[in-house]
Symmetry: C2
Subunit: 260 residues, 2 copies
Amino acid sequence: MKKPLILVTNDDGITAPGIRALIDVAARIGTPVVVAPDSPQSGMGHAITIHSPLRLKEEIIFSGIEAYSCSGTPVDCVKLAKNVVLKGRTIDLCVSGINHGSNVAINILYSGTMSAAMEGSLEGIPSIGFSLLDFAQDADFESGKPYIQQIMEYVLANKFGDSKLLNVNIPKLPFSELKGLKVCRQAEAGWKEDFIEGTDPSGKKYYWMSGEFRNDDGGIDTDVWALENGYISVVPCGHDLTMYESIQPLKNLEKVNALT
Amino acid sequence: MKKPLILVTNDDGITAPGIRALIDVAARIGTPVVVAPDSPQSGMGHAITIHSPLRLKEEIIFSGIEAYSCSGTPVDCVKLAKNVVLKGRTIDLCVSGINHGSNVAINILYSGTMSAAMEGSLEGIPSIGFSLLDFAQDADFESGKPYIQQIMEYVLANKFGDSKLLNVNIPKLPFSELKGLKVCRQAEAGWKEDFIEGTDPSGKKYYWMSGEFRNDDGGIDTDVWALENGYISVVPCGHDLTMYESIQPLKNLEKVNALT
């Protein structure tokens, strides 16, 4: 049987330890092809490069694995992979990560990792974003690997409703303390920002974003709850942002038609 | 009565004609404060600036209006506006645009205009993104103004379900041909990309994104349908990307807990 073709990307850049861990797992169950940013792209969200050209460079840093670095954003990587690198080949699965740090709740919007996976799903490819709750460069990506493999195999073998996108976060725990997988919803949680103000060497003022994550969602069916309780969180995601329940209450707005 | 404080931003940059049109309307019904990018930021999606400082500069290009340019992305502008420029003041409404070009369907994810408005809504501020279906620098932003004003006034005066975010697109038509407002859902439509390949002056290959918008959604309740039929489209949006109907089918995945 033909091995599945697995596109691997991330937002921390092609040299990040997290993507190496993901490539390891992908190589066990399929043929990975890597197209990842040539520099860190954290926080790039769903940004795309419109006004300048993109570059691709073949990389030999992963033994025996076809790999390219790209000068663009994570979403650019997926678009280039589909339309240039893998043109004419079927991508069976797109995986992004493993991100160095959490991508729970609303962070799917800010995260380059999740935006790359989202882009894969928009292109019709089953896609999964993986994140580990550890920002450290030497974070332990081993403990979650058996679960990552199971999730990839499950997605390759099964359909699950209309979602083509999973957001998977892994707590910072040794394998023996991981309680398993929990399928859940995105927590209603977000950031409380602050800005550090300073003065640069030439005397000009600057502002540097800071902030802390706040969870006001008491639900026990959320990704935040799952992670706090030792589970790997799995959130099926879509791309329809319409708030259907608000359409009817807004219909009055259509009455303002007669204007002068 | 105190005039409402209206934060105005965009993604085409503070010198774009579209933001000037939006400031004009905001000034009729409230006190606009402008915080907008100092350069074009189209396609930046929900990108934020994490690894470098941001700059703010007071601008006097809008007569009598408090205005600042910001070195960051559209989302950065909203965060800086809330936490620095307008710290301690209540922002009654956040408006973004008027974008030079359409932001229908899934484009809310790629669009800096809509991401700025989304960020406003995440901060708890009623927010509206406005886009005109005309990319031209000399596009006619006049015809939609009466409707833009009505929508702003409606949002300031009314609650409508839980949505704090509206995506408004205006067809490229003279005022007399605008049929009014249509409250609708996001069309299931997106981009079919292509990349132009070329060789730069130093002989290196480059790839430049191109593509066309494709609508495969036959519904007559979508933003694309409304615009094609002469209406201004109004889509209430949220930020919960969970695909709830996929949670149950995925529950089997939780059974893979016992791993070795």
